[in-house]
């Protein structure tokens, strides 16, 4: 099918997740949740701490300030990896941990790699008040009083202007995502009922053109995820149904919104600066090329972008429709809960809620393949795509996983 040496060379043989809620009587730290997820992973896979050769963590959680976060994790788990680091490309770093695992495994350095992400910020800190200070350049942007939605809105404004995208088309993403959330027990909007396009466009304006329901709420708690990755030959021996890592790609272009226009002359802005073309396209193209698959082969897709318009944009960049066609694609049923591409099947960032960064979107695809989804089950998932995003559309990781070796 393909000849890329990394394609399907490694597999996920276990993936776990721990959740703590704001409303829990005993509030949990990110480290507690990480330990919970890893402990379950060791017990369910039968691969314990002594066999872990590589440890890759997502970035340090906002609510757990420590230098050398990966050291804190290995210290607590008492594992002694021969290679370890923290991957810091925002939400893109979560999948980055698995990319590094695949490289270390292929290089023959290790047999088992542990990839861990965790955040519990909404439990411990003021995410709304603090958010713009995290997302904006402190000297050159923050003093103007931006909010996180207003930073992303710069791209929304251009996206609508350049391609004629409408607020009602954007709203459609929120409407369809919500339907999935109603089936997922942990979704932030699980009990909030369906919404309509009118509900979205009539919700209060937060930062034009983004209304309240165009924006992702914070997940009301913390989530840690852990995945055990090994080479395909080992996976077949220890796991009845490994999920193969078919392809991946990553593309990071900038840190602050005002900086993105300076990244000219490299893809995806080879032809000049743009607020609307992103590294997701390059990451996805590379992931597809590695996997030998195309968008038509994908049965389920998850993205971590936190605004409606950005979901339309990602549907384009990830290859599910052409450039500028995101609005028409969803309008014509492209991601309909009934009959469309299963897209953001936990409810997405818009209705499941965002938890900063994590492997929990990847877990949803694996769970669907292993027939253990917590939300609505999807029949016949062979190949899935997950997109991890971070910064104001600055960091992008795409991973394609497959049941088939």
């Amino acid at each position: 099918m393909n000849t890329h040496k990394l394609a399907r060379s490694c597999a996920i043989v276990g993936i776990t997740r721990a959740i703590g809620l704001k409303t829990d009587k005993e509030k949990k730290t990110p480290l507690q949740l990480v330990v919970e997820a890893c402990g379950e992973l060791f017990r369910t896979t039968g691969i314990d701490r002594t066999k872990i050769g590589a440890l890759f963590t997502g970035r340090m959680p906002r609510s757990y300030f420590t230098l050398q976060y990966s050291q804190s994790v290995l210290n607590e788990l008492k594992i002694a990896p021969v290679i370890s680091t923290e991957v810091t490309s925002h939400g893109g770093g979560a999948l980055g941990t698995i990319e590094l695992a695949a490289l270390a495994l292929n290089a023959g350095l290790v047999d088992y790699a542990l990839c861990v992400t965790g955040e519990a910020s909404p439990i411990w800190i003021d995410m709304i008040g603090g958010s713009a200070n995290w997302e904006a350049d402190l000297q050159f942007e923050a003093p103007y009083g931006p909010t996180t939605p207003s930073l992303y809105a710069q791209s929304a404004c251009r996206y609508m202007h350049e391609y004629g995208i409408s607020s009602r088309q954007m709203a459609r993403v929120a409407v369809e995502n919500r339907k999935w959330a109603l089936h997922h027990p942990y979704a932030a909007m699980h009990k909030k009922g369906e919404i309509t396009v009118d509900d979205v466009v009539n919700s209060p304006m937060i930062a034009s053109p983004l209304h309240l329901l165009d924006c992702a709420p914070w997940f009301p708690g913390g989530i840690a995820s852990a995945a055990l990755i090994t080479r395909a030959d080992i996976a077949k021996q220890i796991c009845p149904n490994p999920t193969y890592i078919a392809g991946f790609g990553q593309w990071n272009t900038h840190e602050w919104v005002g900086e993105r226009m300076g990244t000219w002359n490299v893809e995806p802005v080879k032809k000049g600066p743009s607020m609307v073309r992103t590294g997701a396209k390059v990451a996805a193209d590379n992931a597809y090329a590695m996997s030998g698959l195309s968008a038509a082969d994908i049965n389920i897709a998850e993205t971590s972008v936190p605004f409606t318009f950005a979901n339309l944009l990602m549907l384009e960049e990830l290859g599910f429709c052409g450039e500028g066609e995101g609005g028409r694609f969803v309008e014509s049923g492209g991601i309909d809960f009934d009959g469309g591409l299963p897209f953001n099947t936990t409810g997405g960032y818009l209705s499941f809620g965002q938890s900063g960064q994590g492997l929990y979107l990847l877990k949803e695809i694996v769970d669907q393949m292993w027939n253990q989804a917590e939300g609505k089950p999807i029949a016949g998932v062979e190949n899935g795509l997950v997109h991890g995003h971070g910064g104001p559309l600055g960091c992008h990781s795409v991973m394609i996983v497959s049941k088939n070796n």
């Binding site: 008040g129 050159f140 103007y144 202007h161 209060p204 930062a207 002359n265």
Partner: protein, 159 residues
């Protein structure tokens, strides 16, 4: 960012950037708003009501704080005054303030101005003509003391 608001206490006085200002997320100290050696030139310009961009010997303008030219890889960049002429490239009108400090000002607009030098400058944009701010509006440079208490370069739309 509750607390001292020099706007109320010392109106119109241009604050001294070098004193810094704490950036807090709840009780968490993130850092200071203050110039660092590679940006001092920019803020010295702001004190004189001048908007300065980094200018490379190859002719390319950069913002902010570029130390290495992304066109020619030169490190010979110097501060050069902007003409202060531009147009609105993108914008967002903020209705929900980030912190109580800004709550009295909403709605206000932040966005990117495409300047004559080819720089896309992120800043506050104020409406200076009858029609609401829109992409392509002509805009010119001004300086305002904003909610943070600091004088900042802003752009005002005009006919």
């Amino acid at each position: 960012m509750k607390g001292n608001n020099p706007m109320n206490e010392t109106p119109i006085k241009v604050p001294d950037w070098s004193a810094g200002k704490k950036v807090m997320v709840g009780e968490l100290f993130l850092g200071l708003y203050q110039p660092s050696p590679e940006t001092t030139g920019f803020w010295e310009g702001v004190k004189r009501r001048e908007l300065l961009f980094k200018h490379c010997e190859c002719g390319q303008f950069h913002h902010p704080r570029r130390m290495l030219c992304s066109v020619c890889s030169s490190q010979k960049l110097s501060w050069k005054k902007s003409t202060g002429i531009g147009s609105v490239y993108s914008f967002s009108e903020i209705h929900r303030a980030p912190t109580p400090e800004y709550a009295q000002t909403v709605p206000y607009t932040v966005g990117l101005i495409e300047t004559g030098e080819g720089v896309h400058f992120f800043c506050r944009i104020d409406q200076g003509r009858k029609t609401p701010i829109a992409i392509g509006d002509k805009a010119k440079l001004d300086f305002r003391v904003l909610e943070s208490g600091y004088q900042m370069p802003v752009f005002i739309t005009h006919d």
